[in-house]
Symmetry: C2
Subunit: 483 residues, 2 copies
């Protein structure tokens, strides 16, 4: 049979690594032309390979080499909370990042999209238009709260995911880190108690330490996020003023709270008179689904897929919302925002004291880019790529990491949280061993106070190459060797 | 006499306002052509007008309409210091700036160069080159300490004014405000005592308040700056950890410390084991002199004119140097730096906790601009303009403000400090009266804790027009009416 021969050829190509797992195969027409066979032969060959599980067909997208079926990886155990503590972690965090700062290594540590996962051509076109037609605007200081039109466009996007915001309450910031910092400053005094998830983004801990705040860790599930009941219990014991959290695709775990849990959390804040500072930086990177019936369904499904922020459940002004374009667009922009509600003036005051505001040219560039209407298309492209990369990484973890390794399977974003078996060395030791082999990652210790010694964060926001896959295998081997 | 007729014609033109005080007159050749007379007639006419004081000849620059001789304005009295205080000024500061935020007014409040005092064409060319040839670099995060090449170019400039710095110790910041904030954070804990001049830049006070620091004001002369002996006395009484100061063209007074006083201050810091955080943001804007013999002299004189920073006198690592391109180039860039010496790592740590770093595109744009070699030419152009604007403003103050008004006559920068007679209303009241007449300025109260009620800061970093002059006259009349 002709189609059988073609299927065998393709299989050989896949085994030789000419086409790699997760990669798109030639289209039916391309392949027919390339091999000099009929379209129907190609269709039959692909159907055969799909039946045997070697390729995956994705509606409106193409035929992909299947990612090998994984040994079932369980999610890591939920974490326990800890008592209020004054942090002293910034030295450890600085040391880890100094250690990782080498250009010629494989970087699983950088949780920012590589240039090929950014809309380079469209951002360049936007920069060109601004420089050509509005350059003189860039000479003007746009002090806090920043450009009005950019704030309006951001408010539109927030409305589209269910947040009732007003452009007036939006303050443009130097990335999400400044957004979080000035929000914390607006709501707290040194010594106040702030609740965080365990693990949580190390940038939270740096900000909390630098403001002299006391931190209490709340029990957290690596899949469903913060345990709201545990927070409710802790509220009886400690005078928690603010809860700083990442409800949608947390960094480092990728955990996403259910809508019910989000509603409970907001209600709890209202009942117990504390505030929520929400970091939604990965919210736009929901992986979504491919097997959709029509364009219209696809649109609706994407809307459903992008998790609603905490802020969408807030009817009492309890949530300060922070985000940025660093993960969804480009980290070079350093452009974020706060939707600060009634705390707007205090947040602006804190920004004036810390940076005055943000650079004008990037504000104009992003304003122009958003108006060009390419953002959603870009997002659907990178969401698909991040999902594939997460799947590929998980298949390597299943194969190459020691028995008893657990990992999260995030439904959004591009970071993965791996927990090594008890017998394995702690993550800082593993990092010391991995670096001479040219592999960087972020050890669990920097994401919280305790109980994270056997964990690591892996970021896959970069093209999946043989070298990258090899580096992850090296990490797995080292973790196993050392167990 | 032919030249006499020409001189009379020119005088009439000046009186009609065709040529305004401080403006350049046509060159000798231009005028000869315009009026159909010989070059020697024009030379004689100009010489005659120079003798009678109606025009001023400036070597290598041209003939200018003389600025009317001023009633002698005395400098304001030196301020007294005050005891350590916990600040609560940010509400007042925010209120003043909210009040001033109207586009259709005359803005003496904005201490940033207007677009026409920025090198717009060259900055645009730099932006164009970056977008065209290095756009993909702008997609990359340049986290703290920022781009290496930009830091090297900044270190070169600092070397040229006598500072022994290393590019390694330079950290690129979101404007000078972030530079000051993270330097303070690196050196202090909440509650520590920090010394400042009186008056001092309100941004200092916002930063100090937001960090919970205790402030002690040091007696300060509005011409020669901080009284180093007064600081020495205060060191006996209070545990001062840091002195935050603007030794070269202070904002708001324009005061400049002598080199001897700078040396004494640095020695004092070494002897008494405290640190100096130096704000040198106006240092590049020395007005300099025009009547120079030759190009080589001009170069040497300009070098001499640009005051040496405190950091140039520091042999023991006592000075953290902060500056930015906001006053010298463009405020829209929000690009500053710290030369942090041995405190480099701590400063970087603080920056990571507050903003991670600065936007990449403006870093690349300024790097390219600095390499293009136009900066010094731009500086000598705007320095001349700022000197003329300061002179023009002072001549209006002498004419239109009430008897007993004092003002500084800064030798650099573009802000002026006016002290009204005791009989005049306080500056906040004056602002309330001036705003309905469309005039904005910054009242003295925001620059310090006490004794500044009768003072105002006037910024003249904008083209000097009839409207602007009229607005300053209105201010003088209001100050007089209300006395």
């Amino acid at each position: 049979m002709l189609y059988q021969n073609l299927a065998n050829d393709l299989l050989a190509n896949i085994e030789q690594g000419l086409y790699r797992p997760g990669e798109r195969l030639p289209s039916v027409r391309q392949l027919a032309r390339q091999r000099g066979v009929s379209v129907s032969t190609v269709v039959s060959a692909y159907q055969h390979l799909e039946t045997t599980g070697q390729v995956t067909a994705r509606e409106k997208s193409g035929i992909y080499v299947a990612i090998p079926a994984q040994r079932q990886i369980e999610a890591p155990e939920p974490s326990r909370g800890s008592q209020p503590t004054q942090l002293q972690m910034s030295d450890t965090i600085a040391r880890v990042f100094a250690q990782n700062r080498y250009p010629d290594r494989m970087h699983f540590d950088l949780a920012v999209p590589a240039p090929s996962f950014q809309p380079a051509a469209q951002l360049k076109a936007a920069a060109n238009r601004v420089v050509r037609h509005h350059f003189n605007d860039s000479l003007t200081l746009y002090p806090s709260p920043g450009d009005g039109e950019l704030r309006r466009l951001i408010a539109q996007r927030m409305l589209a995911c269910g947040c009732q915001v007003d452009a007036q309450e939006i303050v443009i910031t130097n990335g999400c880190q400044e957004a979080l910092l000035i929000s914390l400053q607006a709501l707290t005094q040194p010594g106040d108690v702030v609740a965080v998830e365990t693990p949580c983004y190390y940038g939270f801990l740096q900000a909390l330490e630098s403001l002299g705040l006391t931190v209490v860790s709340i029990a957290t599930d690596p899949v469903t996020g913060m345990d709201v009941q545990a927070l409710a219990d802790d509220l009886q014991r400690w005078p928690i003023r603010v809860c700083l959290c990442s409800p949608s695709y947390s960094n480092p775990t990728g955990a996403c709270m259910t809508e019910a849990a989000k509603q409970q959390l907001v209600d709890l804040a209202h009942r117990h008179d504390f505030h929520l500072i929400e970091d939604d930086i990965f919210g736009e990177l929901a992986h979504g689904e491919d097997h959709l019936k029509s364009q219209q369904d696809a649109f609706r499904r994407e809307q459903e897929q992008r998790p609603r922020p905490l802020r969408a459940f807030d009817r009492h002004g309890r949530v300060i919302y922070c985000s940025s374009f660093s993960k969804s667009l480009s980290p070079g922009l350093r452009l974020g925002w706060v939707a600060a509600g009634e705390h707007r003036l205090r947040v602006m005051e804190r920004q004036r004291a810390s940076t005055t505001g943000t650079s004008t040219l990037p504000q104009l560039q992003v304003r122009d880019y958003l108006k060009s209407g390419h953002f959603d298309k870009h997002l659907s492209r990178v969401r698909r790529q991040y999902r594939i990369n997460i799947e590929l990484a998980l298949s390597v973890v299943a194969e190459a990491f020691p028995e008893g390794t657990h990992a999260t399977q995030p439904q959004g974003g591009f970071v993965l949280w791996i927990s090594l078996p008890k017998s394995a060395p702690d993550a800082l030791t593993l990092l010391d061993r991995a670096q001479p082999e040219g592999v960087c990652f972020v050890p669990g210790q920097v994401f919280g106070l305790q109980g994270l010694e056997s964990c690591l964060r892996i970021s896959v926001a970069q093209p999946w190459t043989e070298e990258l896959e090899g580096a992850l295998r090296i990490l797995g081997r080292l973790a196993g060797d050392l167990s």
